[in-house]
């Protein structure tokens, strides 16, 4: 079976026994619960678009292993064209959903593990790559959704994994036997995990020999015994009844993140892709992080396209669209968005093959793109708030709009230009509110790593010595040993 439709994906979730907690209770029916359904809908778009003749060119690819057409989300990049198409795909889908559609994390984990297992085998004589290829074939054939599970809770950030007061603050191996390994710990901020089929666990940081039992990568079904997900609150999660106040009722905001606890979870050897090879933990983190940072000018570019559209509409509705400062601010929003997109395209076009044959982005440009996201999205949202006006923070509820007693006042006093219905103005205001603040905004800062993580990689790749040399030559300073 290749390439599920959106409804096949949704139905497949019903067959899982995923243990999810939210608001202090175990969730019985995940798929039809309004807390989760918008995120499920967003992920389902990635499946449907693979079958849509208008979008399939971006959302599908040809497997280098089987020659079959597969979802691009399960593909290993074979060229810079593949890398560019990934970015275009992310922008295209984000323009449709206006939010995270979650599948890029697992996509990046697959690509990172593909090349790093190859390099591990070359250097250490292990046999992970063939094993990983078997897993990849299974993922491509079943078109499952895979969560990318890197971030550990980390406890005291100044201490290494093996130095933590509680060893479970980083995922680690507690037992090895002839059948497999047993894991303990947790992964934090797991995007889309409650509506995924499997999770690809990777270490969160570079390791030393003392941390060897924390150097573990493997695939685990999200409903495996011992796996418990505790769903994260979002800024609008008590607004699930009704259509307007959520802003984006169909697809939600961000990806629906969870803390995933691993209580002595057994993983068979066929699904283990790193176990103790601490020397390669850092390489895997950097490989994954660079692929993931590549994405942000694509998906955030698409999300920003929607924010810009919403902001231009609210300017129309408020009667200020022709004001020069408003046009200037919209221009700035477009400029920032396209700058982000340009970074993602550039790091893809400058990609190169790894020894495994899989293509990798230019890591310097990918990190620069994500660092820009930590600033530009905030500025885009600030400009949107500026143009929209204060009512995005003070609007009464949908119930008040519908209330026979006060509804007419809401209708009357929240009207902008006479030709536009008040409800349209409120709907766009709520979309802006939900897309530009709270949970949605913080994702731009920390998703794919906090800014300092990008700065470290930028400095490492920035070729400072060569820049010093350039300056010395022009200044007439002779070369010295």
């Amino acid at each position: 079976m290749v390439m599920k439709t959106g409804s096949e994906y949704i139905e497949s979730l019903r067959r899982l026994k995923t243990k999810v907690y939210a608001f202090g209770e175990q969730v019985a029916d995940l798929v039809d619960n309004p807390l989760f359904r918008p995120h499920i809908n967003a992920a389902a778009v990635t499946y449907d678009m693979a079958h849509d003749p208008v979008t399939e060119d971006l959302v599908t690819a040809v497997s280098h292993l089987t020659g079959k057409r597969i979802s691009r989300f399960t593909h290993i990049h074979q060229s810079t064209e593949d890398l560019v198409k990934k970015v275009k795909m992310l922008r295209m889908i984000a323009r449709r959903t206006g939010t995270c559609f979650q599948r890029c994390v697992g996509f990046d984990a697959l690509n990172a593990l593909y090349s790093v297992t190859y390099e591990m085998d070359q250097n250490l004589g292990t046999n992970y790559h063939e094993r990983f290829k078997e897993y990849l074939l299974y993922v491509q054939d079943t078109d499952i959704m895979v969560a990318g599970s890197m971030t550990d809770p980390k406890g005291d950030r100044s201490l290494r994994p093996s130095q933590q007061a509680d060893p479970d603050l980083y995922v680690h191996v507690v037992e090895k036997n002839e059948k497999g390994i047993v894991l303990r710990g947790a992964k934090a901020h797991q995007t889309g995990i409650v509506n995924s089929h499997e999770m690809l666990i990777m270490p969160t940081t570079a390791m030393t020999a003392e941390d060897a039992r924390y150097a573990v990568a493997c695939a685990v079904p999200v409903d495996a015994p011992g796996v418990i997900h505790i769903f994260g609150r979002q800024t609008n999660d008590s607004r699930k009844n009704g259509q307007i106040d959520q802003g984006n009722a169909r697809y939600g905001i961000v990806g629906g993140e969870a803390l995933t606890v691993l209580e002595n979870v057994f993983v068979p050897w066929e699904r283990v892709f790193m176990c103790g090879e601490w020397q390669f933990a850092g390489t895997l983190v950097e490989r994954f992080a660079s692929y993931h940072r590549q994405n942000y000018g694509g998906c955030k570019g698409g999300v920003s396209d929607v924010i810009i559209g919403a902001t231009a509409l609210i300017a129309d509705y408020n009667g200020v669209a022709k004001a020069s400062h408003v046009r200037d601010k919209l221009t700035e929003m477009i400029h920032l968005t396209e700058t982000l997109y340009a970074g993602s395209i550039a790091c893809s076009a400058e990609g190169r093959p790894t020894p495994s044959g899989a293509y990798f982005v230019d890591p310097l440009l990918a990190n620069i793109t994500k660092l820009n996201v930590t600033r530009f999205i905030y500025e885009i949202c600030r400009l949107s708030h500026d143009i929209a006006g204060g009512f995005i923070a003070t609007l009464p509820s949908e119930q008040d709009l519908r209330c026979p007693e006060v509804g007419p006042y809401v209708e009357k006093y929240f009207r902008g230009v006479a030709s536009v219905p008040t409800e349209d103005r409120i709907r766009i205001a709520r979309l802006i509110e939900n897309m530009t603040g709270g949970t949605a905004l913080a994702e731009s800062m920390h998703g794919a790593g906090s800014p300092q993580a990008q700065r470290v990689m930028i400095m490492r790749q920035g070729n400072l010595e060569q820049k010093k040399k350039l300056a010395s030559i022009l200044a007439g300073i002779p070369e010295r040993d």
Partner: protein, 109 residues
């Protein structure tokens, strides 16, 4: 020109940030040419391949196809190969009637 059914296999670029609405253009071409039947490029055999990119970067993947082809990007016929007398000439003409410009010098046909 021969008056017979013409089936076009259509390949769209993916429409990540479209400047033109590809499906709308194809619908307009169909309304100009009632004999035109449109199928996806991977559907089955067809008489002519129609590649439609929605912006000038023209990044639609070109499927392998040895027959006549017309490639459109953002309001321009970028390239075509249609042998004289082939019913796909009607489609090419419909593109020009629809206001599409010819890009650069004539390359195909």
């Amino acid at each position: 020109m021969a008056e017979r059914k013409l089936t076009a296999g259509v390949k769209y670029c993916g429409h990540c940030n479209p400047q033109e609405d590809g499906p709308a253009l194809v619908r307009k071409l169909q309304s100009r040419l009632p004999e035109l039947k449109v199928v996806p490029w991977n559907d089955r055999t067809y008489d002519v391949l129609l590649v439609v990119s929605a912006c000038p970067s023209d990044c639609a993947t070109r499927p392998p196809f040895n027959g006549p082809r017309i490639e459109i990007a953002a309001g321009e016929v970028r390239e075509w190969y249609v042998p004289a007398g082939h019913p796909a000439e009607n489609l090419l003409e419909a593109c020009l009637d629809e206001g599409l410009k010819v890009f650069g010098t004539r390359k195909g046909g």
